[in-house]
Symmetry: C2
Subunit: 474 residues, 2 copies
């Protein structure tokens, strides 16, 4: 099937730095040549004003009929790509539209902060590259041919089976694989759930009065109201749910409230379940960092108490890396079809990555990685607490029993000042105000505090970040 003409053409164009696909063969030869030349002009490889070879020369070089070349030239002249004047060479038109260079537009280096201790980041240098690649190799080798197709819209069964075992063992979640839906991160899962809730006629989802704006936006954008529950030292004040009319669901972070870090108290957990059972309301449990618990009693997932009233959301973003864009939700039976419908009948999460994660979990690499990260994060937290106790003994540290962030309680009125002072030192931290719900705040005056994600930097950057943090404390 070797075609010497094609090879010649290709070679010639390659020599000219033109790595074109040229399907030049048989009766379509002219059209291919036309396309190839048009493309060379468009991309800027043939510059405006550039002189083309005489048709006779090019035809001879390519070993094709001269008429083929002249017809191509004529077509491109007619289209405005080339110009030709009687008795002079054919040239690239001066006004031919040249494509902007991609490389030039992107030579800008990524802007870096000196130290960033903002929520959502993690010590990404610790991603277990070698172990992940091993899992990927095994998963690819074991994958049956159908694994390369469109996939089950709810997620690959290998991963759902692995996760069912994992969330039951580590988080006390009741999860048959059939009730697990794989999503592309918590944001994606929450978006699907919002659609399913709207289909069921839910008009509002209660949220915690401190949390990520991103999720509040998602809910309001979906058309849902978002009344707020107060937060105190026992977590979200779920008793307030009974005062809120028309609320069909509540979004909670029971294990480690984001960002205050408090755990929902046993009484509140029971009250939340009672509310769900009494009203038929749904609890959306965002278990974003459930794997990371240190010296306090572990708090199991709320879902274990009432698998029919709670939707459990877990993610690999904190335990492994956000870059994977894999999360999971465990959905009560009677919601499954609505959430599946919201997902649109088409898988959106890479099947190969799902298979790799399944292998990563079942091989034990995931547990080992989480354990190692947990030790490292605990060490950092202890260093932070110790350093602050020495340099700023009046600052109370809270929310530190679990998770990746702590809260530094500040004297009233100093939060904005401290955030700015830190910024001047090249240290990016979040003030509590960033996470405040725009709505009601029954608990009076705002709370001044910093939310410090101590997992956000590399080991080498950590001592400097910690020093900078201590230096800006009032």
């Amino acid at each position: 099937m070797m075609d010497s003409q094609t090879n010649l053409t290709t070679e010639l164009l390659l020599q000219a730095g033109v790595d074109l696909h040229l399907d030049v063969r048989g009766p379509k030869l002219g059209a291919s040549l036309t396309d190839a030349l048009r493309e060379a002009v468009r991309s800027g490889r043939l510059k405006p004003g550039a002189r083309l070879p005489a048709s006779r020369t090019l035809a001879a070089d390519l070993g094709i009929a001269r008429s083929t070349v002249t017809e191509s030239y004529a077509e491109l002249v007619a289209e405005g790509w080339l110009t030709a004047q009687q008795g002079s060479a054919t040239r690239v038109a001066e006004r031919a539209p040249v494509r902007r260079s991609a490389a030039a537009a992107h030579g800008v280096p990524v802007r870096r902060r000196a130290h960033g201790l903002l929520p959502g980041a993690a010590d990404f240098a610790e991603f277990p590259r070698a172990q992940w690649l091993t899992a990927s190799r095994r998963a690819l080798a074991a994958a049956p041919p159908d694994a390369f197709g469109y996939g089950d819209p709810l997620g690959r069964m290998e991963l759902r089976v692995a996760l069912a075992e994992y969330v039951a063992r580590v988080r006390g979640v009741y999860a048959e694989p059939e009730r697990i839906i794989i999503c592309a991160g918590f944001h994606h899962g929450l978006a699907l759930m919002a659609q399913a809730l709207i289909v069921r006629g839910v008009g509002a989802v209660a949220v915690e009065s401190y949390g990520l704006d991103l999720y509040r936006h998602l809910l309001t954008h979906a058309g849902l109201g978002i009344p707020a529950l107060s937060i105190d030292e026992h977590g979200a004040v779920v008793d307030e749910l009974s005062e809120l009319a028309g609320v069909g669901a509540v979004l909670l972070t029971p294990a480690h409230q984001f960002p205050t870090g408090v755990a929902l108290s046993p009484e509140r957990r029971a009250a939340a379940i009672d509310w769900s059972r009494t009203t038929g309301g749904l609890i959306l449990e965002d278990d974003y960092d459930g794997e990371f618990r240190y010296d306090r009693k572990p708090v199991g997932a709320l879902q274990g108490l009432d698998p029919d009233g709670v939707v459990y959301f877990g993610t690999a973003s904190k335990s492994l890396a956000p870059a994977l864009r894999v999360s999971w939700m465990v959905v009560p039976d009677n919601l499954l079809s609505d959430v599946a419908a919201a997902k649109g009948g088409v898988e959106t999460v890479s099947v190969l990555e799902q298979l790799t994660l399944a292998e990563f979990i079942t091989s034990g690499a995931f547990d080992r990685h989480v354990r190692s990260r947990r030790q490292s994060y605990r060490r950092r937290r202890d260093q932070l607490v110790k350093a602050l106790a020495q340099s700023a003994p009046d600052i109370r540290v809270t929310g530190m029993a679990a998770g990746l962030q702590v809260v530094l309680e500040l004297p009233a009125g100093t939060e904005a000042w401290v955030v700015q002072a830190a910024s001047r030192q090249g240290l990016m931290v979040s003030g509590m105000a960033e996470f405040r719900h725009g709505g009601r705040h029954p608990h009076g005056p705002r709370r001044d505090a910093l939310v410090v994600n101590y997992s956000a930097v590399s080991d080498s950057a950590w001592p400097g970040a910690l020093k900078a943090l201590c230096s800006v404390m009032p």
Copy 2:
């Protein structure tokens, strides 16, 4: 804050290979222990017949009252999870209701058709596993730490730069990396575009009168009207656009109409661009199999004619595998912010996979793979045409100049019969009726035809599938 009891419990369970979450605390201590043990039995980690520690020993190990343990044991005995006989150890009941094994529930082999030549499938056994893994290894090794974070919501720049070069070179698309948005498949991209169109006040998107129901559903579900354009031997009859009121966009498959396989003629291409320029309407170009063209002159992307009026959609689903769930769209400048807003400010496509695909493209492995697949598919198509010419010379084969499917024109009134006859032979093929738009069909009677995806089976299954196909021709 250190809690020696918890640590002890955790350690003990870890030693037993059981990394359980145990919510052992305060008044709920007994209940937590009960739950933990029940869950361990349910999940099969404590096997039927397994002996439990004496209550005295466990209580001492956990540092809790012995009565707490005996009460837990008693409760589980009452529930049937454990058995206890006077004077002998407490054991896991032999008949304990073991949770349905996920593996067993899913060990059912995927139901397989003898031969499936349905659109959307491909010869997935040909996925370049080794080359993909190589690209993955290189991408992981080269990835900077920030690559493991949440990522640019529009897609990783490495991939957008690689794709800008690729679509310009292979499909004649004008694409600066900034205008490329990475999506999780065409379905995802179209969903984002539908949202962006609605934000702009578009009420209807014209579609081709034959196409995939899935996409029509997506558009109507988003709230858009979907009037149909007729299809003839020159492709979609774009002149009909001027008769349709309130249409703000048109979804076309110009290179290889799906499923009829015709290419949009030059006149129609020009007319579509004219319509866009005159009315401000947007052309959505679904270039699903643009890489696969055989003996006809290549048809460049329509987008190249008017980058401001056309949104270009490409995908790795046909050229590589649907399992990757990676596609791309090239969006006019003035639509970029609306589409980005629809994507929700959060990346949904695996960043690691994006980096791997970028490496796969820039290393040349993608071009080599497509070339090899193209040769293989062309060979199959030629075999199909030849076999049909011998066994069913009256059947006209159309739409075969490109892509992965051909159309076999059938005598009027025979389509349903042939599809059924094929099914009885274990051969799954689609009749043209499957793809018909429910709306208007100005071109009179329905067209009887089979749509045959000859790329859908493995090399070993192909001869049998072809033979079965020939045998059911009327």
